[in-house]
Symmetry: C2
């Protein structure tokens, strides 16, 4: 049973933690044949960034990685944006034998997003959740505020998906990029993709939002609030002021928040392996404190995740998601600005962004006479199909990039 627990935890992490996470899929035959792509984590620094909400960040940093070579025109670039719990490790390995990035099945030499053709960039976002992970670089509430010499905590300014785009643009400009042949990402990465196409239509030739939505409506605003509420409930949270020596971070609340995200991101097909088994040695039919195996697994997986995450960053990320497209008068107004070709990749059994959301975005693009194709991802993993089994869209992506 112990062996099993460890195995399951590794599986859990593979869906949440790209850096430890081989995106093992049965449908990625090229991965074995292709040479291993090695990538290096780099850091981009910026100064005096004015947030969309009007605050000033005197200094800031985000991590990124690249593969391929930028052409002289600077127009063969691809930008990959990560999901809520992810970071810039979307493809390649930091060292031979280490786990590849979460979309490694579709990014690399000869793969659908071909690094022999494209200069591919993936960056960490501001207020990245993995603030306590050595391989994530981010400026957020856990960073030191140069004005005080202490972590920002809740004094960090509100940032939006649009802010992520702005900082990515600074990074791309610093690399000489003039145009994006493709912007792509899953989940929160899909929101960044849409925001890019609306904000900088001249830059974006193709947009590929996976497991995304064209709007964060009131129902999704509410869910994001449900996700984060346990953090605010944890007495150790202390209004975000928990970084000082001798204080404990709100690990219980953060674990509970990640438990919700973990279950919400999956579907019943994934859960089937647990059945209705009790946790080892427990009897929920007789003892109210005893649990089922799936409950214990969620707890263990989320607790492991919480140890490299920052609770305040979680709050800033949910807010950034809530502010998706908030500078436009609705989805149609935003999408009408786009001049991209679109490949929309929802997951049929997505419980976070039900497939209707992507369908409606696709319908809106069609109504606007914009070139768009939608391909539904199938499988038992719910929302996570777009991360762990993106390989199933390989042919669609190749065709999209050939046009």
């Amino acid at each position: 049973m112990i062996t099993r627990r460890i195995l399951l935890t590794a599986t859990a992490l593979s869906s949440l933690l790209p850096r430890h996470a081989p995106a093992q899929t049965a449908t990625a035959p090229t991965a074995a044949a292709a040479p291993e792509l090695l990538v290096e984590k780099k850091v981009f620094e910026f100064a005096n960034y004015r947030t969309r909400g009007g605050a000033n960040l005197a200094t800031g940093r985000i991590g990124y990685q690249t593969a391929g070579t930028l052409n002289a025109a600077g127009d063969n670039a691809v930008l990959i944006e990560h999901f809520f719990t992810g970071n810039s490790h979307a493809f390649g390995r930091y060292a031979a034998g280490e786990a590849p990035g979460y979309w490694d099945a579709i990014i690399g030499p000869g793969k659908p997003i071909d690094t022999n053709r494209f200069f591919v960039v993936a960056s960490d976002c501001l207020a990245n959740l993995n603030a306590r992970d050595a391989r994530t670089t981010t400026t957020g509430p856990a960073s030191v505020n140069p004005a005080t010499g202490r972590p920002y905590g809740m004094d960090f300014p509100v940032v939006s998906i649009r802010d992520f785009v702005e900082v990515q643009k600074l990074l791309l400009e610093s690399l000489g990029v003039k145009k994006l042949a493709l912007v792509a990402g899953g989940s929160m990465g899909a929101l960044q993709t849409v925001e890019w196409a609306a904000a900088y239509p001249d830059w974006v030739e193709r947009a590929m939002p996976a497991i995304g939505t064209g709007e964060i409506d009131a129902w999704l605003l509410g869910w994001l609030d449900i996700w984060e509420a346990p953090i605010r409930m944890d007495p150790n949270w202390r209004n975000g002021d928990y970084y000082a020596q001798g204080r404990q971070p709100p690990l219980q609340g953060l674990t509970e928040a990640l438990r919700i995200v973990t279950l919400h991101s999956r579907d019943r097909g994934w859960a089937r392996e647990f059945g209705r088994r009790p946790a080892e040695g427990q009897d929920p039919t007789r003892r109210i404190g005893d649990r089922f195996a799936v409950e214990q697994w969620l707890e263990d997986a989320a607790a492991a995740r919480a140890r490299v995450s920052d609770a305040n960053s979680f709050l800033y990320l949910t807010r950034a998601n809530q502010l998706f497209l908030n500078e436009y008068d609705g989805t149609e107004a935003a999408l009408s600005r786009s001049r991209a070709r679109w490949l929309v990749l929802p997951s049929a059994k997505d419980r976070v962004f039900p497939v209707e959301y992507a369908q409606e975005m696709t319908d809106t693009l069609r109504r606007l006479n914009q070139p768009v194709e939608m391909v539904e991802l199938k499988g038992p993993q719910g929302h996570l199909e777009g991360v762990v089994d993106i390989a199933q869209a390989s042919d669609a992506i190749r065709a999209f990039l050939a046009r």
Copy 2:
């Protein structure tokens, strides 16, 4: 804005609190034409009940209400079972001018479940959530343990959906009922309906589970655990020992738990009226502590609900749901015992029990050659369609009861 807030809160309650709740629907024209049905809340007492988990309840009580007259054969009875946050007030009014029960649109003289033809009984369940509401009678963790003279708290035995059925059977027997022409209920009431058909096939002529499921699989076990987790996190919960004078109940945790249930039970169509408006005077684009209107509404609605609810009862109810059909070797084994005719009423946009669950139960019944019809409820309310707009199934129910 204050007027609006009150209005919205009343709407929220109408979906959760049958006793304050006119189930207002555009599709219930008979409600105005029919004479008002008055009902009386009664109390059933039982002694020395042995739970399915093997514990003994020396004494117990549940509330109930009836309408219509039992025939001499005792076989024209109908049993109505309530949902997670409900109680026995399924139909009629306690006094002229008061709000009717939550399924009043389909139960009453001349209505689809016709009280001129049937003797209709609705009962509170054990460990009912509304333990602090004067019009709910229930034995649960907030009740006084006769062995100690103090509330049970977490010493109350685990009870299951099957236990609810057993106590209902005692009640029905005390009333002279020999057979049920119909067992029906929504959500948790649907689970009780299925459990009845499996446990006492000789009793159940027709079964009508609305917004239900044929199984609580690992994914749903996990969700029920997500629902209740905020209660366990609240420092005022104290392992369930909060009833003593001078102690505060875990209202914050209970409110958060009810916030999850409230949003999960609805769908994006319901949420549309809020749009992306901030709460009054707030600016979530600039202040991390500020909120959107939908978040504030969820908080207000859930807090109102929490004031008449008991946190420990919530924990016992989630466990009861988790133990659905736990005495059988799976759904097919349970359903194969049934000799009922079935009308299955899922909601197309149910986010609690996605429609696939009811579809699979229906498929299983068909495979078992059992007579079953499935009619999908449509509308913007998600799971709650089966409570607030059950009237749309009126014709299907009439036809079902005519067979």
